[in-house]
């Protein structure tokens, strides 16, 4: 569930920044203090962890797919085979400074529980996800009358791993319900560029293809 094939890469994910790093990875990495301890949940082939380690971060990963785990271990990353829904419960409180969930929230069975665990294990959480409120998706549903399929989200409703799509507004509501503090948020357009920072939420929700949130516990 946490693994994704290359065809699942959104345009924003495919966009590359300095050092050939993925733009969304750079944005996530920029939210993380150097030399902190980070758990990357659903770390795929370990590209983000590698980027973080190049910045002096002490990184660990969880990945569901065997191929992903093998690739990560072969790169020298500390990655265990596991799944966000089942295995986060095993981690002790305050084990990490940051827990990252990159493009995986929508594929978890219990996003709320996952989010709560993330902020129990780590002081901060960084969550990135595709925005189902993007205007293109809204148009597809409005005029097509079917579950939207795009180049970036190509799976049919019956075989998609993405069982819990949400919009930026939905996620913001969840953060309020769970009672977490939103430290920073960013929305990226279809080319992986951040939208205007002072834009209102409705604008992000309509034009952001994906979002990155930095969260922390209330009171911390």
């Amino acid at each position: 569930m946490l693994s994704r094939t290359r065809r699942d890469l959104t345009m924003a994910e495919a966009a590359r920044g300095p050092g050939n790093a993925r733009v969304d990875h750079l944005l996530v990495a920029d939210m993380i203090e150097p030399r902190s301890r980070v758990l990357d949940v659903g770390c795929g082939d370990g590209e983000l962890l590698k980027l973080l380690e190049s910045r002096g971060v002490d990184g660990r990963g969880i990945e569901l797919s065997r191929e992903g785990v093998n690739e990560c271990v072969a790169k020298g990353l500390a990655v265990i085979q596991g799944d966000a829904d089942a295995d986060l419960a095993d981690y002790p409180d305050d084990a990490f400074d940051y827990v990252v969930l990159s493009q995986t929230l929508q594929a978890t069975r219990h996003p709320r529980v996952v989010l709560e665990h993330m902020l129990r294990i780590g002081r901060h959480a960084v969550v990135s996800f595709p925005n189902f409120g993007h205007w293109r998706i809204r148009l597809l549903l409005l005029f097509g009358g079917r579950m939207p399929q795009t180049n970036n989200l190509p799976d049919s409703w019956y075989d998609t791993p993405n069982i819990h799509f949400c919009t930026i507004k939905d996620f913001r509501d969840l953060c309020i319900t769970v009672g977490v503090k939103m430290e920073r948020a960013l929305a990226l357009n279809a080319w992986g560029r951040p939208l205007r920072l002072n834009a209102p939420w409705w604008f992000w929700n309509l034009f952001g293809e994906q979002a990155v949130f930095l969260l922390s516990r209330r009171g911390d």
């Binding site: 660990r60 072969a74 020298g76 095993d90």
Partner: protein
């Protein structure tokens, strides 16, 4: 009958020789260096037989300790002196292999209690001049590791680049990491657990009872009486061997095929291929293994419970450890199932250790760690390569 007697005689002679004067270097520890045992006794004098492969580098940073399993020995990568067969881990260890002898200095000691040159029940009791038999003290995994640490002191190796092993070897790896964290840079426990399960203790007990039920066991004094409980030991091995495989692997290898016949014989001959295979496993095992050693080593595994030494909290065994771990399990291993490895990973995570964990998909069961499993080799290679960089071990 005379032929059988001759075979038994040769077996006894071969093993007696290997137990005291093995085809391996031996580190002998005199009265001044007793081995403190968990049973509350001291073993002295005692000896550790070991093999080494590769070259120790100038800063002594490239030593890899290999811990062998219950029925293994120190002959990892050379012809076995008794059976003439290749080493037991030639798939993993050797020039250009995952544990590359061009790069690392590999040491494999025979474990305490075994029968290939390290002190055990088959060795000569210096007080009596006859084999120890059941007078040998009952030993634990921790005792084995303590003896290995003394061997490394003798060899002048303060810190190991890595400790690796599967099954009982994996237990020793975990014990090393818990007992001597500062001496272990990287740890590779494969297909093992931090404690022996009730089911596994039960299997061991069946094996021990089979040995002890053999009239030639003679309360462990078979050497002195010129006999060998080879039938009991063979049955123990046959039973244990089933637990090392899997239903799927047995079915793939043998199915219900008949052995050299087309129809059942309506007798208790080995009609089925699988029977014939198990009989062969049993009879070849007794050539190279001592029945009392089998009792002692299975007992040591039964007693293993790492958390018990740390107030029942496994994570405390690895508190503040700097060792990097790579834990590996196999999908079809029902002797040491993945849940056991996950418990290790859980504890290591709780201790904040740097840990990787992979479950390898195979139908070969527990024995998969000894077999040709390319995914296993890739993971071990990747893990050791990446650990070698901060350790400063040069490429081969």
């Amino acid at each position: 009958m005379a032929e059988l007697k001759a075979i038994v005689g040769r077996i006894v002679a071969d093993r007696k020789r290997e137990a005291d004067h093995p085809h391996s270097p031996v580190a002998a520890f005199g009265k001044d260096q007793p081995l403190r045992l968990d049973a509350g006794l001291e073993l002295s004098p005692f000896q550790v037989a070991y093999q080494t492969y590769g070259t120790l580098n100038a800063d002594r940073s490239n030593a890899v300790l290999i811990c062998h399993a219950l029925t293994g020995d120190q002959h990892v990568f050379n012809r076995h002196p008794v059976t003439g067969k290749p080493g037991w881990w030639e798939t993993m260890v050797g020039p250009g292999k995952s544990i590359d002898t061009n790069r690392y200095y590999v040491i494999c000691p025979n474990v305490l209690g075994a029968c290939m040159g390290t002190s055990g029940p088959a060795s000569t009791d210096p007080r009596t001049g006859t084999p120890w038999g059941l007078n040998f003290p009952v030993i634990t995994i921790r005792d084995m590791v303590r003896a290995q640490a003394m061997l490394l002191d003798r060899l002048g190796i303060d810190s190991l680049f890595a400790v690796a092993g599967g099954s009982m070897g994996g237990m020793q790896v975990l014990q090393w990491a818990a007992s001597y964290p500062e001496r272990v840079f990287a740890a590779l426990p494969i297909a093992c657990a931090t404690r022996h399960s009730a089911q596994n203790i039960a299997f061991h007990e069946v094996g021990r009872q089979a040995v002890m039920a053999d009239p030639d066991w003679r309360d462990g004094r078979y050497f002195a009486e010129g006999v060998s409980p080879h039938r009991g030991l063979a049955v123990a091995r046959m039973g244990a061997h089933i637990t090392y495989l899997s239903d799927a692997a047995l079915h793939r290898k043998f199915g219900r095929r008949f052995q050299d016949r087309n129809n059942p014989t309506f007798s208790f001959d080995a009609d089925f291929e699988v029977e014939s295979y198990l009989r062969h496993q049993g009879s070849s095992f007794v050539e190279r293994f001592d029945a009392n050693s089998y009792l002692y080593l299975t007992r040591a595994m039964d007693y293993f419970d790492l958390a018990a030494d740390f107030d029942g909290i496994l994570a405390n065994a690895f508190k503040a450890t700097k060792t990097r771990f790579c834990v590996i399990s196999f999908t079809s291993d029902w002797l040491f199932p993945t849940t056991e490895s996950r418990a290790i990973v859980h504890a290591l995570n709780a201790a904040g250790a740097r840990v990787s964990f992979a479950e390898i998909s195979t139908d070969k069961g527990h024995d998969a760690f000894l077999l040709d499993e390319p995914e296993l080799f890739q993971i071990v290679t990747g893990f050791l390569d990446s650990a070698a960089v901060p350790r400063g071990v040069a490429k081969a």
